[in-house]
């Protein structure tokens, strides 16, 4: 077991996969000599050289599209969007091409590739360096969407994503990069895509979360246990698409109450899908309204510290929402 933070876990996942399979390559802006703006690819350029760790021009459409072409050719590219906020110039390639290449070619052209998406707020990044834009991708059939919340999951899921035969959007919450260290199993540690984890069992209500919200929800759950005697079950979804319906519905069956939490705005956010799934398929187990707690309905995280604080979801807001639901 090695202790590492999420950033180190991500780096070591890429390193191991590149070691293991020489078809794996990394491309993106500043991923080479600089080692990425967050340092995620630090050292890889020196180790593998330009032809496997490629500093591209400042063109996200090209990054995604060339990665797709390389995947057609037989490589296994890991493309980095410098910030999730800057993925939109690549949206056409991702939605029109990458997500549906397999389907439209009747299964003859698959695209094994990963797009890394540093996302999330609370980092003084304002409207364009804080976005949680996973919903654009979770609603896109043909993509897989992953959003780990621990170093072990970050490593195991990234390695699984690199090996997956289909395109994976890999969301890394920037605030978690160096938030804490934790044990990561040694060896070829893989976490399967598509499986949620009950991060904390509980009987009174279920909190569904992912990414940074896992940390916040666990902290909230401790407060609820301590101060209210409410035992919240925390379910870390880990993979958003495909959603682990069995784990989600199983939890609701146990607790009867569901709180869905994310940082993105609520209207049309990924939480709507989780809530709607529970509302339809867990209906008979519900003892209270499926509740969503999400970022406010504004176009982005504002910059000023007080405004950002106002925007962000943290343990306190989760505790409040959970209390109201528990009391229903």
């Amino acid at each position: 077991m090695a202790e590492m933070n999420i950033l180190e876990a991500i780096r070591s996942a890429m390193d191991e996969e590149m070691e293991r399979d020489d078809r794996v390559m990394v491309l993106g802006e500043d991923v080479g000599k600089k080692g990425g703006v967050f340092g995620a690819t630090d050292g890889l350029f020196a180790k593998y050289g330009e032809k496997r760790v490629l500093d591209t021009p400042l063109t996200e459409g090209m990054i995604a599209g060339a990665a797709a072409g390389a995947a057609i050719y037989g490589l296994r590219p890991i493309a980095e969007m410098q910030f999730a906020d800057f993925v939109y110039p690549a949206f056409n390639q991702i939605v029109s091409e990458i997500s549906r290449m397999r389907y439209r070619s009747n299964g003859t052209f698959g695209l094994p590739m990963v797009i890394r998406m540093p996302y999330g707020g609370g980092v003084h990044g304002a409207l364009y360096h804080s976005q949680s834009n996973e919903a654009y991708f979770t609603s896109t059939v043909g993509l897989k969407v992953v959003a780990p919340g621990t170093p072990a999951d970050a490593k195991g899921l990234l390695k699984a994503s690199v090996r997956d035969p289909d395109p994976v959007m890999f969301f890394e919450h920037k605030k978690t990069y160096r938030l804490f260290k934790a044990d990561v199993p040694d060896g070829d540690h893989l976490v399967p895509i598509g499986s949620a984890e009950v991060a904390r069992p509980g009987k009174d209500l279920s909190i569904f979360c992912y990414g940074y919200m896992r940390t916040c929800a666990l902290e909230a759950a401790e407060t609820l246990a301590r101060e209210d005697g409410v035992e919240a079950e925390v379910v870390d979804l880990r993979t958003l698409r495909p959603l682990d319906r069995a784990t989600v519905l199983g939890s609701v069956e146990r607790t009867g109450k569901a709180l869905v939490v994310h940082e993105a705005n609520r209207f049309g956010g990924f939480g709507a899908e989780v809530a709607a799934t529970i509302a339809q398929d867990g209906f008979e187990h519900l003892d209270g309204p499926v509740t969503r707690l999400a970022g406010p309905e504004v176009p982005g995280v504002p910059y000023h510290h007080d405004l950002e604080e106002w925007f962000m979801i943290g343990p306190a807001k989760i505790v409040d929402a959970a209390r109201a639901l528990a009391a229903y």
Binding site: R52, G61, I72, N92, R104, N106, G107, V141
Partner: protein, 337 residues
């Protein structure tokens, strides 16, 4: 000293008589397929078609230098003749147009005109114009990264040439001198929008130098000129000297598609004059001048093309419709055989 005897033009390019006849044959077949598509569309067998008539010379000739099953092609919706040159059969194409279940391009899932085929190294095409250009560049990047001797060719129209992705593709290919050939088939219109409202500066080829590689304009009605440019581009790519942009000036003999009526936006005299530039006619004339083609042989080749499309259509029509249960397959690899 013996002087080198002046060679016929095709021989100078290293093409045998047989080669140029084969090129002509591919053009004839592409035209026969195309005309059949229109017939089938009018007969209600195909909902929509989009034609390559007028582009055949440029397509056959620019695709000719590629190595089948080795190089790669990322074509567009007019690329019937390119696809045929690179290995697709008339039957493949008619099968796709009829959306039969074993259609090699998409199993009946895509609209007519969406060429592609894994067995032929032809990238599956979508409808949003220009997206395939980056795929070709990505393939070339893969070859470059692996040190493999592979060239990718991609084609698109002059309207498409303005899409941001096409520019990003050219820039990246320029930076790393990737082995890719950009073929812009400039037919002067993007549906109804004419060149002068579409392309700032009016020349697509002129853009290449902005990315540090050569851009050439060729007469798309002169297949030998197109071949010469493509051959040089192919060699440049193989040598590691980077990409080439070839702008082939062609004509769109038909309306944009079966949904369009070009008389709404194009002068009748202009439409009438197009026929004078039919590359089939032009190439036939050229081959006669080169002493390669006779009227008799021409008739024979045309009869062969006709026989081939008849047979291809018959077989394609007999193929099975897709099974409805197939519609939910191949979304992800999981669970597939």
């Amino acid at each position: 000293m013996a002087e080198t005897q002046a060679q016929p033009r095709h021989a100078e390019l290293g093409l045998t008589d047989q080669d140029v006849l084969d090129m002509y044959r591919a053009m004839l077949l592409a035209r026969a397929v195309d005309e059949r598509m229109w017939l089938m569309q009018r007969a209600g067998k195909i909902a929509f078609i989009i034609s390559g008539q007028g582009h055949e010379g440029a397509q056959v000739a620019t695709t000719w230098p590629l190595r089948r099953n080795h190089d790669w092609l990322a074509p567009y919706y007019r690329s019937i003749a390119s696809a045929i040159t690179f290995g697709m059969t008339a039957e493949d194409i008619i099968t796709a147009h009829l959306a039969k279940g074993d259609d090699v391009s998409s199993g009946g899932r895509q609209m007519p005109g969406h060429y592609g085929g894994a067995p032929y190294n032809i990238v599956s095409l979508s409808s949003p114009v220009g997206t395939q250009v980056l795929h070709a560049v990505g393939i070339a990047m893969g070859a470059w990264a692996r040190g493999e001797d592979v060239v990718a060719l991609t084609s698109y129209g002059e309207g498409t040439a303005n899409q941001g992705e096409v520019h990003e593709a050219m820039n990246f290919a320029g930076v790393h001198r990737l082995p890719v050939i950009f073929v812009c088939e400039n037919n002067g219109y993007a549906i109804s929008v004419p060149l002068e409202k579409q392309v700032g500066g009016l020349s697509v080829a002129a853009r290449a130098q902005g990315y540090g590689f050569p851009g050439v304009t060729v007469d798309g009605d002169d297949p030998l000129a197109c071949y010469a440019a493509a051959k040089e581009a192919h060699e440049r790519g193989r040598r590691g000297d980077g990409p080439t942009l070839i702008e082939a000036r062609v004509v769109r003999l038909t309306s944009h598609s079966s949904d369009d009526d070009q008389r709404r936006y194009r002068d009748p005299a202009e439409v009438e004059a197009l026929k004078q530039q039919d590359p089939l006619v032009g190439f036939g004339r050229q081959l006669r001048e080169l002493g390669v083609l006779t009227d008799e042989l021409d008739q024979q080749l045309r009869a062969e093309a006709k026989a081939e499309i008849n047979e291809a259509s018959r077989r394609a029509e007999a193929r099975p419709e897709p099974d409805v249960s197939a519609a939910e397959r191949h979304v992800y690899a999981d669970g597939e055989a």
